[in-house]
């Protein structure tokens, strides 16, 4: 080609293209910096407002109308009870469904329908699950309102698809050689799955479960629907007693006119974020520790 790369025209063009390249790279970096700076701004404001309110009496006290004496223990206990119910219901259902869909299910239209259902349920807005909980658990089955039982049932329905999807991925990752070896030694398909495949897939399943639980811990909208909007003065003593949960407590305190509650709300947010960070950190640690590259 008879193009002179050193002519002024070409040099200018190249300079323009290189400048465009630098600008583009700058915009990319700016996008990331901007996004992360929003996150840091949020954390900074919460810490600034709430860190001074985090003392032992705050962590062990119950809710009250006076901001100086209000604490989060009632909400934390309610959250723990509800998490227990959610875990007890969604983990077995989710793992068993994942095992069936991945190992035993035949390839026909009904199973396709089940798979589509699960994938869609994982993306349905959480408030719809609240509507379902209101219509079925409270009105039809007459379970006690605002109890960890109903909250746990509703959130279990919401968490199960997440566990199924991550469980399926974990089971899919176990190589076929494991299954073939077990079958070759004389195990039945059920024995192969439950005694060889599932134990090997368990770290992945646990990671997915912990992440699903962390999501359920932060949910507020479905619990608003089942009536957890009330002021609860004492921690719940059973799963059928009226209770509040930590994100709901944050929501209720944010509505208060008294400016003294700003500190409480921010401190409660810090507590919630610490819980979530711990759970996610645990999930990542488990994944890194037990991940086997086949």
């Amino acid at each position: 080609m008879n193009r002179d790369w050193n002519s002024p025209v070409m040099t200018r063009q190249l300079a323009r293209r290189h400048a465009a390249e630098r600008r583009f790279r700058f915009f990319g970096l700016a996008a990331i910096v901007l996004s992360l700076s929003f996150l840091f701004l949020l954390l900074f404001i919460m810490l600034k407002n709430g860190l001074s309110g985090l003392d032992w009496s705050f962590l062990t006290g119950s809710d009250s109308t006076d901001p100086a004496t209000a604490g989060v223990w009632g909400a934390v206990k309610g959250s723990l009870l509800m998490m227990l119910v959610t875990l007890a219901l969604s983990f077995p259902m989710g793992v068993l469904a994942a095992v069936y869909l991945e190992e035993f299910a035949p390839r026909n239209r009904w199973i396709d329908l089940v798979e589509v259902s699960i994938n869609n349920l994982a993306a349905v807005p959480s408030i719809i699950f609240g509507l379902l909980g209101l219509a079925v658990f409270i009105n039809t089955m007459q379970l006690p309102r605002s109890s960890p039982l109903v909250g746990g049932l509703t959130l279990a329905l919401m968490t199960m698809p997440v566990i199924v999807i991550s469980g399926r991925n974990a089971i899919k990752a176990v190589p076929p050689s494991i299954r073939d070896a077990a079958l070759a030694v004389g195990a039945s398909p059920v024995q192969t799955v439950f005694q060889h495949v599932v134990p090997l897939a368990m770290p992945g399943i646990m990671t997915g479960t912990i992440i699903g639980m962390a999501r359920a811990l932060g949910e507020t909208a479905p619990l608003l629907m089942i009536g957890m909007r009330a002021f609860v003065a004492t921690p719940p003593d059973s799963i059928t007693a009226p209770a509040s949960v930590l994100p709901m407590q944050i929501f209720l305190w944010s509505d208060e006119i008294n400016a003294g509650f700003v500190q409480n709300t921010s401190a409660a947010i810090i507590v919630l974020l610490v819980f979530l960070l711990t759970m996610n950190g645990l999930a990542i640690y488990l994944r890194n520790k037990f991940e086997v590259s086949w």
């Binding site: 700016a30 993306a123 699950f129």
Partner: protein, 457 residues
Amino acid sequence: MISTAFLIAIAALGLIAWFTARAKAKLFVSDGIGTYSRPHYHGWHLALWVVIPALLIWLVWQAISPQFVMAAITSLPIAEQLPASDFERQTLLSEAWRLASDPNAGSFYPLAQELAGPIAAAQSRYAIIGALIALIAAFTGGAYGYSRLRAGFPARTRIERGVMLVLLLASLLAILTTFGIIASLVYETALFFQKVSPVDFLTGTHWSPGTAIGDDIGKNFGAIPLFWGTIYIGVIIAMIVAIPLGLMSAIFLTQYASQRVRRWIKPMLEILAGVPTVVYGYFAALTVAPFIRDLAASLGKTNPSTESALAAGLVMGIMIIPFVSSMADDSIAAVPRSMADGSLAMGATKSETIKRVLIPAALPGIVAGVMLAISRAIGETMIVVMAAGAAANLTLDPLDSMTTVTFQIVQLLTGDQEFDSPKTLSAFALGLILFIVTLVLNIVALRVVKRFREAYE
């Protein structure tokens, strides 16, 4: 009390059955005959034959025994004093029922106190009858199972068939949930559309359910302002924030960042996705909304409201950035390396390759990611509840307060309402529309991604 005793008895019977059958199977093994399945499978087989019939009968009994108790009570002479009106009768009876299980609960009707005693007695009578029937079933089942026990009996196959049934039932729970959601939403919406016409609902522009009394209530349930608010906040403002930031973040991470930077930055973006929405809502209400309000005042707007669509949309956009970013990341990474290499080999700069080759190639995946992000944004509740308002406004001004579908669902259903009033039913109608829209968005997005992946494999 009786229930716990019964359940413990059944558990004990099951345990005995397990040990007995296993011992008998072990005899076969030690005699030299050998068994088709290992002895503990025989144990499980007999235990299940004992426990399952008993539990089934007990569950059915729990469902039908209240009717027996009710029949017994209404045949008593005291029942003559029950009020004739249905509503009062129901309240009195339900209060008596409550008192029967918890004698210390508060009560309004003295008659309820009197009825509580006979109710409790009848309940325990029928509970004992039910427990006895279930125990008989347990023994019958056990006898049948024991008679089948011989060396060649394929116990393990039977057990495994049962296990498969349990797995299938667990999977069907997902369909049951979807079906339950659709059924309850459609049922309540149908009740709503009997009181308010669908046309009024979907095309009306005036939303004030609080003043909906009388015959012409259809005029107060026009949902267009809600749809407009949802689209304006969730689709327009949030996407203006999220798409550029998310897309450029993904491009930078995949194309320009070193491995070390990527390993640190990617989890931090995931943290953005993991922060609970109530925290974002509080951040919006505490910091962003006053800032926007001061900004609006300085721009000359008279009497700016604290709850503005811009505040809610901004924070929602920030929350959505990780969704767009991760979907774009996956799509760009799925484009074959050969396309990028070819473009670079022809002399294009990296940004030109991205703009002209990679992005168009990854476009279906990116669009699917945006659709999923939109679906997430319009379903978002807490941010709008805390930062946007309840005023159903149809304006173009982002500094005005607007309301969304999710906010109204929360507003209409919290507080003590009769379950049949048009207000509460309209919440279900809104929920149905929300469900359908997000479902359609998700199905289309996933189908686009699937077809796109196939094109490159």
